[in-house]
């Protein structure tokens, strides 16, 4: 269970999907780092990831952590967005209809209440309907 302070601090990174790109070797990481995990360079530039991507892997969580009882079962996926990966929830789809390679797009949705009673909004993903 998170706090309002944390959500406030992370709002730009999470809502705008801000990653860091290494200007020396090009490696892109989400979440952003202070030094490149691949080459150690400190020359990193923040950049927004594309908001459309594809599911690399997914799971359906049936035994929830405390605070997420109302969100269970929840679909969690690793999603490839451009040169980076993010972990997020997939919404607006039945668990049995999720698949690897499925195209998804970012959307802003409500998350579980914080310890201090706030209702945070975070980036989640929904199926891309062309």
């Amino acid at each position: 269970m998170t706090t309002l302070q944390r959500i406030w601090r992370l709002k730009n990174t999470i809502l705008n999907l801000v990653a860091s790109r290494c200007l020396a070797c090009g490696y892109v990481t989400y979440p952003p780092k202070m030094r490149c995990p691949v080459c150690g360079s400190r020359e990193l530039r923040e950049e927004r990831l594309p908001r459309e991507g594809e599911v690399l892997s997914y799971t359906i969580i049936r035994v929830p952590a405390k605070g997420f009882e109302n969100f269970t079962p929840v679909i969690i996926a690793l999603i490839k967005l451009g040169d980076a990966k993010v972990l997020s929830e997939v919404v607006d789809v039945k668990p049995e209809d999720v698949s690897i390679g499925m195209r998804v797009v970012a959307t802003v949705r409500k998350s579980a209440e914080t310890i201090d009673g706030g209702v945070p909004y975070v980036t989640k993903f929904k199926p891309l309907k062309l």
Binding site: M1, T2, R6, I7, L10, I14, T29, Y30, P31, K33, P37, V38, L56, S57, Y58, T59, I60, I61, R62, V63, P64, A65, K66, G67, F68, E69, F71, T72, V74, I76, A77, L78, A84, K85, V86, L87, S88, E89, P95, I100, S111, A112, P120, V122, K124
Partner: protein, 383 residues
């Protein structure tokens, strides 16, 4: 590297892994510690290193002082180290360093975890503290969920069937059924695994280790103190490595960098190679963790571990024989104690007095993994 002193394991102690309501954290730790001290000729350690991950859940920190005082060790050096589920391994590394450096000659390392005091939803949340609170936990992902993501990715990339992975659990329960220290001391069938409830698809209950209470201790001693025992086992090599906590910025999702690097470091230090290893305990929190650990160490090629164990590889008597204790799957996973259990078990295998399935062996390996591969300690033991 400067000259290191040789470090011996002069005594080990374990309590049966399980669910304890009648014993506290200090009782469990004390029981394991006293056994290890007895094996080491009732010597008094100069330092106490405690491995633990989640004692904050039961509102207790300052563990070395708590346990040390319970054991009559006032005045000794003491502190706790933490590396998630790999806390036991880093506690051993710390104890090893204290002896190898010459700072102390007799160090007691105790791994302890007490989970069954809080509702399981609190414990599940607590175990996920090993994940990234900012970027992963805000979605309510559990530790099982993170491993499920790795499992599905692995199965898809290598075309590995669920049943092949699940068979690991059957093998582990077979070994664990003969280990008097094991929590789940019974055999299971593949059908039992397939019929067990889904926790986080594709992970089912029997793909996962249980929640566990437990404590294990090892008494480490320098060359001048190895007289403490007739059957000393030497820590020939030890390595630790970290990787990202978040899965998303990993270079690879089907390979544990920290497992490979820590194993390479330990083997280099021991001046040996994997072909010499006869017995090993690997960290199988989930069946997928077993596959990734085995492959990242180098015991099997990528994507091939499940096929190998399905065909009888790694069974008792094979080189290496893996997880004769039953592993995390059957022995149990008292989180911060697990790495110390593994060490105690392999030491007993090398001494020839492990009370369960045992094989004659002179070289052993342990691998303890914290998080989803983010903090890994590998140790090489030699008789």
């Amino acid at each position: 590297m400067c000259e290191l002193r040789r470090v011996y394991v002069a005594g080990v102690g374990m309590v049966k892994v399980g669910k304890y309501v009648d014993k506290s954290l200090r009782d469990l730790a004390g029981e394991a510690a006293l056994k290890a001290m007895e094996e080491a000729g009732n010597e008094v350690p100069e330092a106490l290193v405690v491995g633990n991950m989640l004692s904050s859940l039961i509102e207790q920190e300052n563990l070395a002082s708590l346990i040390g005082d319970h054991l009559g060790l006032r005045g000794a050096c003491g502190f706790k180290v933490e590396g998630a589920c790999g806390s036991g391994g880093v506690a051993v590394l710390t104890g090893y360093s204290l002896v190898a450096s010459g700072l102390f000659s007799k160090v007691l390392v105790v791994g302890v975890e007490k989970l069954f005091e809080r509702p399981s939803s609190d414990v599940i949340r607590g175990l996920a503290y090993a994940a990234d609170a900012d970027y992963e936990l805000i979605y309510g992902v559990t530790f099982s969920g993170l491993n499920a993501l790795l499992m599905r990715y692995y199965m898809s990339k290598y075309g590995v069937k669920y049943e092949e992975l699940a068979y690991w659990s059957v093998l582990m329960h077979k070994n664990g059924s003969r280990n008097p220290y094991a929590q789940l001391r019974y055999e299971i069938t593949l059908e039992d695994v397939l019929k067990s409830p889904l926790i986080a698809d594709p992970i089912r209950l029997y793909d996962s280790c249980p929640l566990s209470d437990g404590a294990s201790a090892v008494f480490l001693a320098s060359e001048d103190s190895k007289r403490l025992t007739d059957t000393p086992v030497i820590i020939a090599g030890i390595g630790n490595s970290i990787d990202s906590v978040d899965l998303t910025s990993r270079l690879e999702l089907d390979h544990l960098l920290a497992s490979r690097v820590s194993a390479e470091s330990a083997l280099r230090m021991a001046k040996t190679d994997l072909r010499e290893v006869e017995v090993a305990e690997v960290h199988d929190a989930y069946t997928i963790t077993a596959a990734l650990s085995i492959e990242s160490i180098g015991f099997a090629e990528r994507g091939k571990a499940p096929k190998a164990w399905s065909e009888g590889r790694f069974s008792p008597g094979d080189k290496p024989s893996l997880n004769l204790s039953g592993g995390l799957k059957s022995r149990g996973h008292p989180v911060g104690a697990t790495g110390v259990y593994q060490l105690a078990e392999v030491v007993m295998q090398l001494r020839g007095d492990f009370p369960g399935v045992s094989v004659p062996a002179e070289v052993g390996l342990t691998q303890n993994i914290g998080g989803a591969g983010s903090n890994v300690t590998t140790i090489i033991l030699r008789r």
